[in-house]
Symmetry: none
Subunit: 492 residues, 2 copies
């Protein structure tokens, strides 16, 4: 934690030195998925971006409480053709139940995240689990005179708020421009201004998810949940709020307005936004036919894909761009990422086999320092990865006899590469791996322990090791050349 980290803060539009409010604790909130559909690249990018932040800060020793919500208060409606009467006559079990849809897509999202090796957040709160907190906030906003009720719905009064605060400070938008450029849309006539947003919506008859409130049976507005949940788990002021750039306005702007109104201060010290993803230069959209889910990437089942791409390839591809750059997906780019990942992982394996030399002909410590420096500079993973590729070149040179490292430097190289590849970048071997060689290592350790036990005349332990291994089918044989072992009935 002695390292100085710079974070680009959307609020100040500059890189700022990261100084947590209560070190070693760090509060991190990231807007999670709306679970009414399968996850796609637009979900993978923020998940992997802030997984990297979570992993790097944890690696440095910070105690990070990472909160990533599930938006499950959806807008699922009963089939409009049926009419209210017909729906009322149906048994509960025959009716569409939003929570069943929520569960289905939440489970699939979790599976996708596990495939991408994205760590579980510390807390994954659901919007539906925090209705009481959201109602409390609406009450406070009304009390502060920053909201108004119309027909059982409550809206945030942006103009009133803007008199004492600057609505638009995060996104850089100016209220007068907003006013000039928007027009009242049909069905929005309850709002005083088109840029006002709902805090509480009265449920229409066809609306299934609803809760009692002082204003109506209804449901909270979408922006409210993140204010309520970040406050509950991280407090009035916390360190980092992350999310995709598409959420900057109005979602995050609204979060600031709500929290400032209720808690009297800006809720977040550092706002971080990952940039957007394009598919072969185009925006991703269902109508454009380039909307590819993660599952489709993993199994290749989309017409735009030339082949399947493994979760680790997708992860590596995303990490090979800085999170604030746009990222364009194409088959060619993914195939290049796949090759690069293979090269990196192969280098790691060669590294395991290298033997130390009498002198170091490469500056490992210098390279390692540059790799950390890249991460310190606003989590610049592509630069860090470039330095890892430099390491792979060194590894291959040593293998080819073109240089050497001392035992100390070799140990340092191994520690650094393992930390970055496994812990920080979160990359893992995708196929079964070298289980057999691991088994050799582990049984070898038992054989050594048995020899040590014998040497100190602890025959009980020595026999225990032999007997217990025998029970699970591993036979030890004392030979002239030492102890050999075998899985009974099987040569390995």
């Amino acid at each position: 934690m002695q390292r100085e980290i710079q974070i680009y803060n959307t609020l100040s539009r500059t890189k700022e030195r990261f100084e947590p409010l209560n070190p070693p604790f760090v509060g991190l909130y990231v807007c999670g998925p709306t679970v009414y559909g399968d996850a796609h690249l637009g979900h993978a990018r923020p998940a992997i971006t802030f997984d990297l932040v979570f992993r790097y800060l944890s690696h440095l020793g910070y105690k990070v409480r990472y909160v990533r919500n599930i938006t499950d208060v959806g807008h699922l409606e009963n089939d409009a053709d049926e009419g209210e009467d017909k729906i009322a006559r149906k048994a509960r079990l025959e009716q569409l139940e939003p929570m069943e849809v929520v569960q289905y897509f939440t489970d699939r999202y979790h599976l996708n995240m596990a495939q991408l090796n994205v760590k579980s957040p510390s807390i994954e709160p659901r919007a539906s689990g925090h209705i009481i907190e959201q109602i409390e906030m609406v009450r406070e906003i009304l009390k502060a005179g920053m909201g108004y009720e119309v027909n059982g719905s409550v809206y945030f009064d942006v103009e009133a708020y803007n008199r004492g605060h600057r609505y638009g400070k995060l996104s850089g938008r100016v209220l007068d421009d907003l006013l000039a450029n928007t027009r009242a849309l049909e069905g929005q006539d309850e709002k005083r201004n088109p840029f006002d947003f709902a805090l509480w919506k009265k449920a229409q008859p066809e609306h299934i998810m609803r809760w009692p409130s002082p204003w109506s049976e209804g449901f909270p507005g979408w922006h409210l949940e993140c204010s309520a949940m970040s406050n509950r788990y991280l407090g009035d002021l916390f360190d980092i709020h992350g999310g995709g750039m598409d959420l900057l306005f109005p979602h995050h702007e609204a979060e600031i307005a709500q929290s400032c109104t209720v808690h009297g201060k800006d809720p977040v010290k550092y706002w971080m936004h990952n940039n957007m993803i394009t598919i072969e230069g185009q925006k991703m959209g269902k109508s454009l036919g380039n909307f590819i889910t993660l599952n489709e990437f993993f199994n290749g089942a989309h017409v735009r894909l030339e082949k399947a791409f493994s979760p680790m390839t997708i992860r590596f591809f995303i990490l090979q761009a800085h999170y604030r750059s746009t990222l364009d997906f194409s088959n060619e780019a993914l195939m290049a990422a796949e090759k690069g990942l293979e090269r990196l992982m192969a280098g790691r394996k060669v590294l395991e086999q290298l033997k130390p030399g009498s002198e170091s002909t490469f500056d490992v410590a210098g390279l390692q320092a540059k790799c950390y420096a890249a991460m310190d500079d606003d989590f610049n993973s592509p630069i860090a990865i470039a330095h890892l590729f430099d390491a792979v070149r060194i590894i291959n040179s040593i293998k080819d006899g073109k240089g050497s490292l001392t035992a100390t430097d070799l140990h340092g190289l191994r520690e650094w590469v393992e930390s970055f590849v496994v812990d920080i970048l979160g990359l893992k071997e995708e196929v079964g791996g070298s289980e057999s060689s691991l088994m050799s290592d582990v049984v070898g350790l038992l054989i050594r322990l048995r020899a040590e036990a014998k040497a100190r005349k602890d025959f009980q332990t020595a026999d225990e090791i032999r007997d217990e291994l025998g029970k699970v089918g591993i036979v030890l044989k004392d030979t002239r050349d030492g102890v050999e072992w075998q899985i009974s009935g099987k040569d390995i």
Copy 2:
């Protein structure tokens, strides 16, 4: 769905013909885990029992909405030594956050369930996500005169309820006996009668999880959540309520009383209870040293275990007993289950290779009918499995040239065996196969040796084991529930 299923209904103490209220829909509610600790066999048995019910009914064509809750409204308290003032001065992030504990154990529970091939329920609601519904129920119970408030807490008035209903109808207990056999305990003095139970508890200062209510800042009583959530997702009256026998009284009895009071009718048509588990004849308990978590079974890291047992071995072992029988775990019994499972899975593989003959010398259809009949008879999985072993004998006979099946019968046999093994019993080939389980055994042995070394204060050996395992990429983690291991960068 043409099949006639018999279910033993705890309410009537007889097997009854299963007639769903709104076929083809079936509502199934099962009490899920309290997520403040690792899952053990007491969690595995109900999960697997009702997974079997869920799978079999779905296999027959029923549309089952399976709701299994997460009890996350726990009784975690701030460290009492600290005092309220000191806690109030701490930043939010420095304070213990129950939801972080909840998330940790929920994730681990989900991993265990996935390992056991237990399907996700249709909806997995959390108690904390349904506080509003629970407050509504308390209000209704008070309105009906079946509850009373004392100092901000609300209790269910069992005597008042018993005047118009029979409290004890499910468990067979009689109120007068209860009265005679219980005595007021200290700290329960708010209750009019010792058997009254809390609907709402006022939070003490050290109590962290709390919500506003008409009576106090507090939290709902445990029995209430299942009434509220089953009602929300399955309606006033639903088909099947399941759970372990330990929940029969008072939990399920209280559920009936609450629902009857609020909705004016018994909530459940069929009550199903799985029987208890013993460990080598003893009740499982932390003080008895026989409290073995599922993770410990899977990696063998418990002193009572002679080896690791794979998730499928545990699943098969549980399915080899009828859910209403007690089940005693022992190393011998688990090893027998492991062998049996291997035999069954090997038979399946041989079946794939069999070639049809000109005539059938075995009555496959008859055997299949008996297998289904066993399941129809209160989900009698051990009998069904016995018939599958008959099938394995037939398969091996045909392989040995001692009989044959026509193409039609062979096809029928394959369909039946696949349906039962994969879809209904939920058994699967374990990835990595015997190698992984062997690895678990071997690492488990090392973990035991390390514990023994520590016990004899041989810290050098203890550290050596940890360090050497670390070198080959196996990380030992001391957790609150014992030692766990992981291949670094790989979840197992």
